[in-house]
Symmetry: C2
Subunit: 698 residues, 2 copies
């Protein structure tokens, strides 16, 4: 692997040459020259090179690189026709100029001839040790040392340096980030090496990992040229404790197409890219505003930030919404120390919520000092690592004061304060937060998404409780029917149920099994046993009369040992359905707001893991059932994978409508029911509940 | 079900009474009175009621409702101590006042006494037909008719009426929406009925569904009091063709807690709520800014909007990022008509991209007229229903002009133009879009999320291609090893593989099966058959020598029929592993950027449906393997569900490291390998690949 380039002389050159400097006002060659001569602090000389001019703006101009006077030139900036670039680079190499920046377009992004030129440049680099940055790039900006090797007219306004190091491939989106970081902690170095013929993003990462003034590395990548160099550079950044945040364009097919036409580099498969970023500790984000906000937030994170999240606001609805979104993202909410609560209680009105989320109520709006006090109290709590402070409305002077309170406390605490300016009225308060460099978020969910990615939370993130399958809503004091009773109710209601009979002893079991036809399944019948399998109360695949006798004894034995208190009403013997059926769940429960709701989903092991379910209010029409079945995420399991025949959708939909009808008829008393698993055969084979629970209100 | 209330006299009252009107400046009672007297256009009289005053602001004040002069009072606004409210309501009922708005707090949200009071109010409503709005609410605002039955000091600035009808429960967040909709299409009616003792959100939805001036209904709900009334109201809105967009607070546990303490209503289960909204055609959103933007966008949607998405920008990186995010969201990209391309080609420089996404390049920045032309061309294309126009940088006057171009074309086309102002510099261009009522989005992903929800796309949304499992990356011209050859290579490399032997005839099969011990599995060995099961080349669970003989014949027969061209090298007989193992996949493929990458995931049917996989660059350490195994989403399937013992993680991790080592040793030539399924037993039972494919580069 090619070692990382030493960029010291590139970052801080003494003398530079501008090849293609122009006297023509507003030309790119002139802007580049002016950026260096007028707007940069180049310690040494800026040599203009252009055979067309004897002088530019009153300063001398030379006809070629070779013709330049004796001087230690560190970087040659090249903005001439693509066909002339190779020769200029050869002159650079011959003079021992270590770095050349080729801004000119018309290389690999433009077609075969350009690709050939690029290969020759790469060959020249290998042969001579010359380092080339570009081609097809907007240049390099060293904001902190006022050095703009770029033709961008915006460079003269890039005045806000900071601890964020930025590497991009194209130029346009980097400018967006610089505009976003024009207050507070800004961008110190901005690399943007276009086609990356020689110097690549990994070289820049490696430099920034070692640069003591850079604390956070932000990457905007359209393709990965050399994966192993990239991961080595990421490893170096991790070793140096420099967090890396990356936006990788090229996730969807459409995006990949555009990325390839744009930078002509190889867009790796999105899933692999993401896995590699995770593996090497880089934080991947999904949009440009997230890249900006995450980079900025990373410069503000302290060892305390991950202790726990506090939501603090003056509107109850906002508190609820923020807690809701934070809960959904799994952020750990801080538990307040007693001293914190006591102090808040003293300061806030009685009807304020002094628990997390804190809702001061609007009373605090009139008292800026109380805002400051409250924030100080929260920030002093050791369990509070980050305070999320949503401001839902712009109330003019009142919210200006609130913004001032945030700025005041943020400057004195090691707790991370994250303001969210939720109003579209971006008044004085917003402007103050912006110019103070606090980069207020504009939406709660944006803030929370970034906090989830950027903050190293110490408490493991609490996953939100997944919606429980209906059976988990325990029959609160109601009456549960045994499987056998439930099935006979269903049979009366016209639902298909397996052929079966409850037997009283082993001999009867053998007889009935033979009558039903082998194989059979046998299950204990007891209203006290909800989990028959766990009680040893189920035997499958019984293939002979002898086996049925044996199974009868074994079930009674297991149940007696595991559920000694259960009253056994007999053993249910049922014909087994052919193998290869798919298992689904059809359940009904009573929702507090909407009444009886039907749940359909994948059954068996899927119920507790993937929880792939969909719901609909009862009663359902046949069309509802049809839509419901297709609403689950992995409906292809029913449609058939690996050449499997599709399931019997007709029968399944019919069963769902019958369950809905049954539940609707019993709507006054039905508490819950669950058919799980429901066996669904291939088209034409039918659908049948293998187990059934029905619970009535007490 | 209680019928929906007729709100005609409530929305446009002639005479109103303010019970609790106050002479004290800045009191809520005074602000309420002033809002009606000074800032509202009440056609009739505003009667002040307060026993403490003879007059307020020079106008008469009466001691009680009963004492008011003869007049047809439509609405009584009540802002007095909670303990006095019931009596005041009784006076209202006695006088035949049809509506009362109770703003006072201290009811069900405050505890038992308040709950009792609320029950009595509800009883009074039932008995007398009085309609109560509230209690614990900020009032009602009829923006379009300048009527503020509210104590909010902000009401006098609520001047921007429009076709959006808003119903909330608490007041705070509604204010945010009004601030956001203060230009362009605004809020016409804002209901916010707090505890909803009588009038509820469904009443307001039903009114707005029938109100000809309301085109879009926006809901911000913290709880659902009466699900069936809600769904009836949603049905009515759908029948009247009024789109409904809803933000429901209370998705996560934390959110539910805050919502309950705030409005004291029942927060239904989040999954059921979402299912019901979907069932009844309401668009559910996740955050307040989405609610705002979706409501606004819905007022701008035309029958053409869903035809196809066009992305139009002047920066290649932005085009790529936008296409990427839109692709990820499954939005259908428009295909341009030939005339569109021809017209763009004439207008734009050669290096611009005139395909979708359109990248005009920065040249267009200098020419506002060209911007207008370009937009007109795109909007005229019948396949373009929506133009997403991201502006990544604020370039001062240049981007101001671009904003003007958007406003110009937006006013004349039925194509939806959606601007995204991506820069944090919110200069003149942003302000212009804002005041023109175009509500520019501030981030690409926000815009695309809303477009995905709000626009009824005609082309079914194209799902992004899921990342393929390694085997799908076909061995391009390389050499594939047969299963038997692959397994013997793995065995040599120290990997566990099932005991087995390749046999040449049925007799040998029976002998070897007996030697290995029953049950065995038998599989065809042929380099030409990649999918053995589909070819009928696999028999499982062979329990006797006779069955082995039979299976040998059956396999040869099937294979001869289904793959007549395949050369059969024998039949592999293997000892079957005990039942109850879990199936996983361990694969290796070569990524263009990162080289060999190992994929781990759930095997069997899961590979093609759930695609629950994780990746890591090779080589992997033991720690890498440990982390990788736990990175998949449904790791609980390995940890054991339903009382199942955990899988043998040790053996699995060991196997993964060995696969990685094997791949690393063969890294120069290995193209891909796939072990699928890998059988993983319970802890201590080991892990073993049941099938193996190895492909070398050609």
């Amino acid at each position: 692997m090619k070692p990382f380039a030493d960029l010291t002389r590139f970052i801080n050159p003494r003398n530079v040459a501008v090849v293609g400097a122009s006297a023509r006002e507003a030309s790119q060659g002139r802007r580049l020259y002016d950026n260096l001569v007028l707007h940069s602090a180049v310690p040494g000389e800026v040599f203009a090179v252009n055979p067309a001019y004897g002088e530019i703006g009153g300063r001398p101009c030379w006809p070629s690189i070779s013709a330049l006077p004796e001087a230690d030139i560190d970087v040659a900036l090249i903005m001439i026709n693509a066909s002339l670039v190779l020769d200029a680079l050869k002159q650079c190499a011959a003079r021992g100029i270590p770095f050349a920046v080729v801004m000119t377009s018309g290389f690999s992004e433009a077609g075969e001839e350009g690709q050939r030129l690029e290969r020759e440049i790469a060959e020249l680099c290998r042969a001579t040790g010359l380092h080339v940055y570009g081609p097809n790039c907007p240049g390099f900006v060293n904001v902190r040392d006022r050095l703009g090797m770029t033709f961008s007219p915006a460079f003269k306004d890039d005045l806000n340096a900071g601890a964020i190091g930025l590497a991009t491939q194209g130029g346009g989106l980097g400018r967006n980030l610089l505009q976003g970081l024009s207050h507070g902690q800004g961008v110190g170095l901005w690399f943007s090496a276009g086609n990356e013929v020689d110097l690549e993003i990994p070289d820049f990462i490696a430099h920034m990992a070692n640069d003591p003034q850079i604390r956070v590395i932000a990457l905007l990548m359209e393709g990965v040229k050399n994966g192993r160099r990239l991961t080595s550079a990421l490893e170096l950044a991790r070793a140096r404790n420099k967090p890396v945040v990356v936006l990788k364009i090229g996730h969807s097919e459409a995006g990949v197409r555009a990325a390839q036409s744009h930078t002509a580099s190889v867009a790796g498969s999105a899933a692999v890219n993401s896995a590699v970023f995770r593996q090497f500790g880089a934080i991947e984000v999904d949009d440009l505003d997230q890249l900006l906000a995450t980079a900025r937030l990373l410069t503000r994170i302290t060892p305390k930030s991950g202790n726990g999240l506090c939501i603090y606001t003056f509107s109850g609805g906002t508190a609820a919404l923020a807690a809701d979104i934070a809960g959904g993202a799994g952020l750990p909410m801080a538990a307040f120390a007693p001293a914190t609560k006591a102090a808040l209680r003293k300061l806030l009105p009685d009807f304020a919520s002094i628990d997390n989320p804190v809702d001061t109520t609007a009373d605090i709006l009139r008292n800026q000092q109380a805002s400051v006090e409250c924030l100080r109290i929260l920030c002093a709590d050791p369990g509070v690592g980050t305070v999320l402070f949503p401001i839902p409305m712009d109330y003019g002077a009142i919210t200006d004061g609130m913004a001032q309170a945030i700025a005041t406390v943020a400057a004195e605490t090691d707790t991370l304060i994250v303001p969210v300016w939720m109003s579209r009225r971006l008044g004085g308060g917003f402007q103050l937060l912006e110019t103070e460099g606090l980069l207020p978020f504009l939406a709660l969910s944006d803030a929370i998404a970034v906090l989830a990615k950027a903050v190293p939370w110490k408490t493991p993130a609490v996953q939100p409780a997944p919606s429980s399958p209906p059976a988990a809503a325990a029959a609160s004091g109601g009456r549960m029917l045994s499987e056998a009773a439930a099935k006979s109710l269903l049979r009366e209601a016209g639902l298909p149920v397996p052929q079966g009979v409850v037997v009283a002893n082993a001999e009867e079991a053998a007889e009935q099994a033979a009558r039903l036809g082998f194989p059979v399944v046998m299950k204990v019948v007891s209203a006290q046993i909800a989990h028959k399998t766990e009680a040893g109360g189920v035997r499958l695949n019984i293939a002979s009369a002898g086996a049925a006798r044996e199974a009868h004894a074994a079930i009674l034995d297991s149940v007696a040992r595991r559920c000694p208190e259960a009253k056994v009403d007999g053993i249910l013997v049922e014909r087994m359905l052919p193998p290869g059926g798919r298992e689904v769940l059809v359940g009904v429960h009573r929702d507090a707001a909407f009444g009886l709701v039907l749940t359909f989903g994948l059954g068996g092991i899927f119920v507790e893991t993937i929880r792939d379910v969909a719901h609909r209010m009862i009663p359902l029409s046949r069309d509802d059932a049809r839509a419901l079945v297709r609403e689950i995420e992995y409906v292809e399991i029913l449609e058939g994978v690996r050449g499997q025949a599709p399931a019997d959708f007709d029968a399944l939909e019919d069963l769902i409508v019958r369950v809905s009808d049954f539940a609707w008829q019993h709507r006054e008393v039905l508490h819950e029911m669950e058919l799980n698993p429901v066996w669904v055969g291939a088209a034409g084979q039918g659908a049948m509940p293998l187990d059934a629970l029905i619970g009535y209100a007490g």
